[in-house]
Amino acid sequence: MPGILHSLPYFVAGWLLLCGLYGLVTSKHLVHAVVCLAILQSSTYMLLLAIGYRVGGAAPIFADISTSKLVVDPVVQALMLTDIVVEAVVVALLLAMVVKAHEKSGSVSPNDLRTLRG
């Protein structure tokens, strides 16, 4: 692994985290905010995948390779599967809230949602 790449995926993960947060902070459309949350979450996929990767490692499936072969870490992949489900679910629930809010107030801007203040 060339030295310049040693921390690349970690930086990309940090960058995605930042992008997601920025989108959430500045969002003017609730659906846009929900999509930004999905981007924020993809930062954790990136981080997990990078952590478990091994140079020269095979996929952790012993259907057609010998069990003594070097494989990448299977645990992070299991964690990522859970993570993906959580993401989809959070997005579904948030979108339902947005749809409902739109039905009630006719607006999708976070600025118009602020009935509770102070």
């Binding site: 692994m1 060339p2 790449l5 690349l8 995926p9 990309v12 960058w15 995605l16 992008c19 997601g20 920025y22 989108g23 003017k28 459309h29 659906v31 846009h32 929900v34 999509v35 930004c36 999905a38 981007i39 993809s42 996929y45 990136m46 995948l49 990767y53 140079v55 490692g57 095979a58 996929a59 952790p60 499936i61 494989v71 990448v72 992949q77 990522m80 599967l81 993906i84 489900v85 993401e87 989809a88 997005v91 579904a92 979108l95 339902a96 947005v98 749809v99 739109h102 039905e103 009630k104 006719g106 999708v108």
Partner: protein, 95 residues
Amino acid sequence: MIWFGAGLLLLIAVTGAAVVGTRDVTNQVLALGFYGLLLALMFFVFQAPDVALSQITVGAVALPLMVMLAIARMKFRDQIKSAPLGSKSSEGCRD
């Protein structure tokens, strides 16, 4: 191979920023789908076929589909409200 992966990572970083920067939600759905596919490709390249498969099904299909459905439903509501036909719907929802 590793350089291909690194390039892919950078592409993902750029696409992620682009998805956030796309302020029009309908365009954003398309960008999100593309972003999901890129992530799936990356999972595949880095030896995670299981995750890649779920990412294709969830990240590139189910997620954009749900966003699209939500947008469609909101547009549908707007249509009803703006059209004089039919009874008034928005007041009917109270309680």
